[in-house]
C-alpha cells in the first residue's frame, strides 16, 4: 500500500516546476502572487504524502504549520499589491 503515494508526490513536485514558469513569465505582480499561492497549496499536499511515505507522524505537523503560516505571507503580498499596507 506504500507504493501509491510516492509517484503522486513526484507528480506534484513536477507541477511545482510548471507553476514556477508562471512565476518567471507573469506580467504583473498579481500573477506571480497567484503562482506562489499555488506553490503553497501543492507543497502542503507533497508534505502530507511524504509524511506517509517516510512513516513519521511528526512530519504531518510540518504541513499544518506550513498551511497556517504561508497564509500570512500571502496576506502581506495581497495588501502590498492593493496599496493599503
Amino acid at each position: 500500500m506504500m507504493d501509491y503515494f510516492s509517484p503522486v508526490a513526484f507528480i506534484l513536485v513536477a507541477l511545482v516546476f510548471l507553476a514556477m514558469v508562471r512565476l518567471v513569465r507573469g506580467p504583473t505582480p498579481a500573477d506571480r502572487a497567484v503562482a506562489v499561492d499555488t506553490v503553497n497549496t501543492l507543497m502542503v499536499a507533497v508534505l502530507i504524502l511524504l509524511g506517509v511515505v517516510y512513516r513519521q507522524i511528526i512530519f504531518i505537523d510540518v504541513a499544518i504549520v506550513y498551511a497556517l503560516l504561508s497564509f500570512v505571507s500571502t496576506l502581506f503580498i495581497a495588501k502590498y499589491i492593493g496599496g493599503d499596507l
Binding site: S6, P7, A9, F10, V13, A14, V16, F17, M20, L23, V24, G26, P29, R32, A33, A35, V36, V39, N40, M43, V46, L47, L50, V53, Y54, Q56, I58, F59, D61, V62, V65, Y66, L69, S70, V72, S73, F76, I77, Y80, L85
Partner: protein, 84 residues
C-alpha cells in the same frame, strides 16, 4: 528510487529559484522568488529527515521573511537601481 527523483527535482528547483532572485529587477518579484526558495529548502530539510528544522524554516521563511521584505520595499523603491 522515486524518492531520489523527488530529491533531484527539489535541488534543481532550489538552484533555479536562487537564480531567479538574482535575475529579477522588480524587487517584489524577487521577494516572491525568495519565498519559493524558502519553501523548497524547507522541503529539502524534510526529505533529509529533519522535521524540526523544517518547521522552523517554514515559520521563519514562509511567514516572517516575506513580510519583513515587503515592509522594507514599501519604505524604499520597488525597482532596483534607484528611480522609484
Amino acid at each position: 528510487m522515486i524518492e531520489t527523483l523527488i530529491h533531484v527535482l527539489v535541488i534543481a528547483g532550489l538552484i533555479i529559484s536562487a537564480l531567479l532572485v538574482y535575475w529579477f529587477r522588480d524587487l517584489l518579484a524577487a521577494t516572491l522568488a525568495a519565498g519559493v526558495f524558502s519553501f523548497l529548502i524547507s522541503l529539502e530539510f524534510y526529505i533529509l529527515q529533519a522535521p524540526d528544522v523544517a518547521i522552523s524554516q517554514a515559520a521563519i521563511g514562509a511567514g516572517l521573511t516575506t513580510a519583513i521584505f515587503i515592509i522594507a520595499i514599501r519604505s524604499t523603491s520597488q525597482y532596483e537601481g534607484g528611480g522609484s
